[in-house]
Symmetry: C2
Subunit: 338 residues, 2 copies
Amino acid sequence: MTTNRQFVLARRPEGKPVDDDFDLVEADVPEAGPREVLVRTRYLSVDPYMRGRMRDEESYAEPWAVGDVLQGGVVGEVVESNHPDFEAGDTVTGNLRWADYAVADGDELVGIETGGVSDSAALGVLGMPGRTAYFGVTDVLDPDPGDTVVVSAAAGAVGSVVGQIAALNGCRVVGIAGSDEKVAHLKDDLGFDAGINYAEADVAEALGDAAPDGVDGYFDNVGGPITDAVFEHLNVRASVAVCGQIALYNEEGVPTGPRKLHTLVEKRARVEGLLVGDYAPRFAEATERLVGWVQSGDIAFRETVVDGLENAPDAFVGLFEGENVGKQVVRVESEFDA
Amino acid sequence: MTTNRQFVLARRPEGKPVDDDFDLVEADVPEAGPREVLVRTRYLSVDPYMRGRMRDEESYAEPWAVGDVLQGGVVGEVVESNHPDFEAGDTVTGNLRWADYAVADGDELVGIETGGVSDSAALGVLGMPGRTAYFGVTDVLDPDPGDTVVVSAAAGAVGSVVGQIAALNGCRVVGIAGSDEKVAHLKDDLGFDAGINYAEADVAEALGDAAPDGVDGYFDNVGGPITDAVFEHLNVRASVAVCGQIALYNEEGVPTGPRKLHTLVEKRARVEGLLVGDYAPRFAEATERLVGWVQSGDIAFRETVVDGLENAPDAFVGLFEGENVGKQVVRVESEFDA
């Protein structure tokens, strides 16, 4: 192992990212310093929030500079460890790089806790997306049994878990997704009560049937017109957890739409932004619950796997085209694997 | 007393209401039936929310039909009572009519509790607007000492009380109002720490000076671009109480503006709609606190009084032109008073 492929941000995307926004460059395999660990990437996570870091704007995650190596959630194998918690051969997860290899402070890595489920699940149902769903439902929406909970991007990594946790809470669950195939997956595989294909249906109208008693909780992954439509159906004292706004991430300038604050007065509704990192002190609780639910079969999950680090940009861009069902991961095989 | 002047909705306003939207008609003075009370109006409250009832749209308050007598908060004198709780000469308050006289179920009236403050205060600082401010600050914003709280329409009936209660909680209080005179009133008479005249200043820019540590709580009475500007300054975990959207009430069609849900994710902020009626079981608590603060001088208040029932539409329309400082009331002298 002498060289390391890694993606850098070649330029800031305008609108939807394209291949030329990313450069695959070769560098030396880094060396682990004191308390550092060298990790070989096995799975890389691509997530919609990364689009925000490609903008030159301050937000909850620091923007990348042009030329920076892109970062992301990784499951990998320890190659060399100068940290007492890890040794070569361990499987770990952490926020590493779109690269074959990366070094990290060992304190920033954790062993994966997947209870025998696939390792890559540590990036999805048992990782950041699963925890986001858990805290979003449990803490922000906090639905009562019998409530109707609607989730957008329902077939995605977060939405699919949101709906299943809400169902475990005794809720009627309605998922909004972008194809008939995804809607069938929600109902047939994930136990959703109803699904709406926003690419075909008028969402506001379809919700009249799918949520005949109105919407008590809405977990928003998309924003834009789909969210506008859901707001028309909010019940008095409804709760809205805002997790993502993927429909807007590629817009240049400030997206506009109907003003909705008056609806909140009419409905005495609550809208709250959700960032999973705020719940770090409770990650162990979430992981334990999620592992239990997956092991018992109460939560099913699917992954969409793209092979090859070189295809990471395609996998990332595919998120904005709805190409993934469940968690989108990139399986990375080092060129030196053989 | 043989006739009763009363305002009916002549037609639904288009945009800002005008005189021809209202008709002053004469009718017989109504008679009190069993358990009913005949009340002569002394003060009539005009409030921005009434604009919503003039639309043909369902909301928290039922829309008026064209031809309906307009309703509103009234302080009046009991002329005749068939209810055991009241007798002629009592001063009462309730939701009555834009009229010289009205009958009401005695169960829907209450004696005024103003602790020696002016009777009309039962429509303002000690009535619905004061209670709205109380629950909005205490329950929805729930600020900590040292927090910065911003309120829009700060010189109005609700906003002026919001700011003073927040100050009593140890907050830095910034008011946004529509004239230099109002801003001076906020700072000189009501103890606000800073004020912004939105008619002259760029609100987003001015907030940089007025709220240098950002905004922890925002009480929104206006909506629209002023609220957009405040959102730019929200701190992490900020709270927003949405009470009114007066900047939008006269718009035809659906008002549009920049989408703000992503800001809520960035800031993990909470936005909640507020309707004072939901707090009815706790009105006594609010009144007791408010009366105490007014008696001790901790809360100052001002009223803008228009004389004559016939001027009620002008007083109402004036709300949308920022003509009032503090609570806008109409003093009604029956033509039969003499």
